[in-house]
């Protein structure tokens, strides 16, 4: 069965190029993509996921405020009845060049299932989605 993804760029972030490519690549890979574009609030992600009965929420953050913007998203999902929904985040998710393993850990601790660093190609996301959604 076709899996549904909610895709968007979180916060006050307007980086639109990667989002357009992810939309194209995920769709091309056979997913049903609900693309919210840029400047998406946590509430909008959750609303769209409920509405579309999504299997995963794919958050991009490029502009550096990812750490502030993503705080509490997992809790809000839980509260909204999206318990256990797959949560990915990727892009340039913190300010500056920081050791990626520490960054990954901080975002895992925030409740994300997978964390992808700068310049991750869409294929890596697709492979991970296939693996994580296989048995759902």
């Amino acid at each position: 069965m076709q899996k549904t993804l909610v895709l968007g760029v979180i916060g006050a972030d307007v980086h639109a190029v990667g989002n357009q490519i992810l939309n194209y690549a995920f769709t091309d890979a056979g997913f049903h993509v609900v693309n919210l574009g840029v400047m998406v609030s946590q509430e909008e992600f959750i609303e769209a996921a409920i509405e579309s009965a999504a299997d995963a929420i794919i958050v991009s953050s490029l502009y550096g405020h990812g750490e502030l913007d993503c705080q509490g998203l997992r809790d809000k999902c839980d509260e909204a009845g999206l318990k256990g929904i797959l949560l990915y985040v990727g892009g340039n998710i913190v300010v500056g060049k920081q050791p990626f393993e520490e960054v990954r850990q901080r975002f895992l601790d925030m409740g994300f299932d997978r964390v992808f660093g700068p310049g991750t190609p869409p294929e890596a996301g697709i492979a991970a989605l296939r693996e994580d959604l296989a048995d759902r």
Binding site: V14, A16, V17, V38, Y63, H65, V95, G96, K97, G119
Partner: protein, 483 residues
């Protein structure tokens, strides 16, 4: 309120001013008379206008980084490092993304969390929150002039505070700081916000304080054809001049093909001046800025240096008045001050090596300039027509009609119908000209260029080409060829 390209009368401006200044408590710190007195004390060598005019006269290219961190002292250290170790001629203060969207509470949270965590939690300097006094601490601590660089659709308060704070140049415009930087702000609104900014700068001018203004040239930074960014720059220059701005730097983001880039800068300068002359703005000084490659960068630092240096070479060969510099950390995140200074030093070296070698002639250059100028004229003339002679209305209606269209822009007020791709020599052309008001000859030109590339690559014309081109430089080349 009705938008039109007419100089605001002072009472109208002052009425608007109440609202603008009250958006955040620090607005109360601004006193125009005191601000003008303060600015009058800033010596020439610390003023943007002076340094740009000197460079123009000498045919030099100045170098300027982007940089901004949340806390005042750290920001001063950063800029000090960039002028000392980076040999920067001009300094920036890059504003954080919350401030850009007037989310001053969020910016405040970012300041606090940065203090607590010891890490920068904002991607820039929240100038509004730091207020006039905070800004003056910054601008007075440095030898070089400092400019505000941001991406703010409604920058009225930011402009008030930073000009009072001793900044001598202010980047942006109603188009260039809307379409690439916002999703849902009507064009009509941002044009009004920016008339405010330009009128404020005009007021400073009237009082003897010359402030430089700089439309943001690169727009989305991603395969923007020169005619689009040049048309936008000229529109914003015209709108600014009408409000009394007297010193304008028009900008362009490097596309990657040498001939096209030099042609674009030359065309931009010539056409800005030509439109100014035609519409009676005869006392505005025009300079140019080239932005080093604004799209996705390679993650490898050696390769990033290569992209930086090639951009520097183009700036020097085109004799741009200044060049905005990237750092070897570009692909990864906001650079450390050391990485930022390294990008600057590499740039300075290239600029100095090429200081005496402009590319001015050549048949291919002339041809490319002719193309860009013809395209730009098509867009501007049609906008003027749609605006019934009013550039402001023409801008709004032009975007509605898709006769100006910025690729990959997030704004819903942008048509999004054109699709750029590189030709076989790496120049940015249009795979789809959308609703651009081009002549048939120009349309055919683009079609032929793209077809030529497709043939060389033994593949059909498709969106895959565009994707390949978007990734190309970060993967180590200019044209995104198959495999």
């Amino acid at each position: 309120m009705q938008l039109s390209n007419k100089k605001w009368d002072l009472d109208f401006f002052l009425a608007q001013r109440q609202e603008a200044l009250s958006a955040w408590p620090t607005g109360a710190e601004v006193d125009l008379d005191e601000a003008i007195a303060y600015q009058a004390e800033i010596p020439g060598e610390k003023r943007f206008v002076t340094r740009l005019n000197e460079a123009l006269a000498a045919g030099k290219t100045l170098i300027q980084p982007r940089a901004g961190v949340p806390l005042i002292n750290e920001h001063i250290v950063l800029l000090g490092h960039l002028e000392q170790e980076g040999e920067a001629d001009l300094l920036p203060t890059t504003i954080d993304s919350y401030t850009r969207l007037n989310r001053y509470e969020d910016a405040q949270r970012g300041i606090e969390e940065s203090k607590v965590s010891g890490k920068a939690m904002l991607n820039g300097f929240p100038a509004v929150n730091h207020g006039v006094k905070g800004c003056r601490m910054v601008t007075s601590a440095l030898k070089a002039p400092v400019q505000v660089r941001h991406g703010t659709p409604d920058a009225r308060l930011l402009c008030e505070i930073t000009l009072a704070g001793g900044f001598t140049s202010f980047e942006g415009g109603g188009i260039s700081y809307n379409i690439p930087y916002a999703k849902a702000v009507p064009m009509q609104d941002t044009l009004l916000y920016w008339q405010y900014v330009d009128r404020l700068v005009g007021l400073y001018e009237e009082r003897g304080i010359s402030i430089n203004r700089e439309p943001f040239g690169p727009l989305t930074g991603t395969l923007v054809p020169p005619c689009i960014s040049n048309a936008v720059a000229i529109l914003e220059a015209l709108l600014a001049a009408e409000q009394g701005v007297k010193n304008i730097t028009v900008g362009y983001g490097q596309c990657g093909n040498l001939i096209q880039d030099v042609a674009a800068i030359r065309a931009l300068e010539q056409q800005t001046k030509a439109y100014f002359a035609r519409f009676g703005y005869t006392d505005v000084v025009v300079s140019t800025v080239l932005h080093q490659w604004m799209g996705g960068f390679p993650a490898d630092e050696a390769k990033a240096f290569a992209v930086i240096c090639w951009g520097s070479a183009v700036a020097a060969l085109a004799q741009a008045t200044k060049v905005i510099v990237k750092s070897p950390h570009e692909a990864l995140g906001v650079p450390t001050m050391e990485a930022n200074a390294a990008g600057l030093r590499a740039t300075k070296q290239v600029i100095m090596m090429l200081a005496d070698q402009a590319i001015a002639d050549g048949e291919r250059l002339q041809e490319e300039m002719a193309i860009i100028m013809a395209e730009t004229d098509c867009i501007l003339e049609r906008a003027l027509e749609l605006g019934e002679g009013d550039w402001a209305l023409g801008t709004v209606r032009g975007f509605e009609a898709g006769i100006i269209d910025i690729p990959f822009a997030p704004s819903r007020y942008n048509m999004g119908k054109i699709m750029p791709a590189r030709d076989n020599n790496g120049a940015v052309r249009l795979l789809d000209t959308g609703l651009l008001p081009f002549t048939d000859k120009l349309k055919a030109f683009h079609q032929a260029k793209i077809a030529q590339r497709a043939q060389a690559e033994h593949r059909g014309v498709s969106f895959q080409m565009v994707i390949d081109d978007i990734y190309a430089i970060s993967k180590g080349r200019l044209v995104g060829r198959p495999h």
